[in-house]
């Protein structure tokens, strides 16, 4: 990237072209920056829009994780112990543990966290989860130790 350094020698138009050619690089950079953010930060901001919010709760997170919705609970696939590998209730595919203490990649990418909460809350509860619910579950999963 440092090879692009002497921008002074380019006109504005040239620079635009350089930027558009480097689109993929920019995307990759954006992706790696996004991964650096803690998914819980944005969720906390969203939760705070409710004035009664007074912090996330480990106990509420654990309860929600085990609460059965229409057919399933989170535990149906992730098991009641998220430190253990789970298994997809339909396809039988192994699901790696959700607890970051065992699987540090978990809950580290905000886009992934949002994608899976949306899908899985729809599957389990037939609705999207609230910011507070998502924060509770993340807080509980992060509280687990070996």
């Amino acid at each position: 990237m440092s090879t692009f350094a002497p921008y002074q020698q380019y006109g504005v138009q040239d620079m635009k072209q350089t930027v558009s050619i480097g689109g993929l690089t920019a995307l990759l950079l954006a992706a790696s920056l996004a991964q650096a953010a803690d998914p819980l930060d944005a969720i906390r901001v969203a939760a705070q829009s409710d004035k009664s919010f007074s912090g996330f709760s480990v106990a509420r997170g654990e309860t929600l994780f085990r609460t059965k919705g229409t057919d399933w609970s989170c535990s149906s696939c992730h098991t009641t112990d998220p430190r253990k590998p789970g298994r997809h209730a339909v396809t039988g595919k192994t699901i790696q543990p959700m607890a970051p203490v065992i699987n540090p990649k978990r809950l580290s990418d905000p886009a992934k966290v949002e994608k899976w909460f949306k899908r899985n809350c729809m599957d389990v509860f037939d609705r999207e989860c609230t910011a507070r619910e998502k924060g509770d579950v993340i807080t509980w999963l992060r509280s687990l130790t070996r």
Partner: protein, 167 residues
């Protein structure tokens, strides 16, 4: 061990593999042959491989993939929604490498030929006719969607006979 000579050989081999992969991705016959490298795509692998093995594009005709990619919010009863850009890029890969007509290798665009379930296609049923109903239901397999239970290299897109081990 890693002399300049072996490095050169390894990198030469890598180039060959890469070229073969590119040829396979653009050729009609390549995708259906077990001898040729299987077309892969990192986005497809990551996104489709979340809940099941990433099913190879050659398992269904293009029309099937278009229907499936257009209905991810209700994907066989589960929500598999993704953003539209990601969905579009996966759909392009699936359609480009979809099952083709044996006769002329062209994309099969026969009207109405868009089965949604791989397991419901005639070739799938035929290929698995020796597997009993009880075996399908066994704890190690559980679902016909669980290709990896028997096809040990399914995750990599390979379904060769020699990699099959029925649990």
């Amino acid at each position: 061990m890693n002399t300049p000579e072996t490095s050169a050989r390894i990198s030469g081999f890598g180039t060959t593999v890469l070229s073969l992969a590119i040829i396979s991705m653009s050729s009609a016959a390549g995708a259906d042959s077990a001898k040729n490298p299987v077309p892969t795509n990192p986005v497809w692998q990551e996104e489709c491989g979340g809940c099941h093995i990433p099913y190879p594009p050659r398992f269904l005709p293009a029309g099937s993939w278009r229907l499936l990619m257009g209905s991810l919010e209700d994907h066989f009863g589960t929500d598999a929604s993704i953003d539209t850009e990601t969905a579009a890029s996966i759909e392009t890969f699936l359609v480009q490498n979809a099952k083709r007509k044996k006769a002329d290798g062209k994309t099969d665009s026969t009207a109405g030929n868009a089965p949604l379930r791989i397991t419901g296609t005639r070739w799938f049923v035929h290929e698995h006719d020796e597997i009993s109903a009880a075996k399908w239901k066994s704890p190690a397999i559980r679902s016909a969607a669980n290709c990896g239970a028997c096809h040990r290299e399914a995750e990599k897109g390979s379904f060769r006979e020699r990699d099959i081990k029925v649990p």
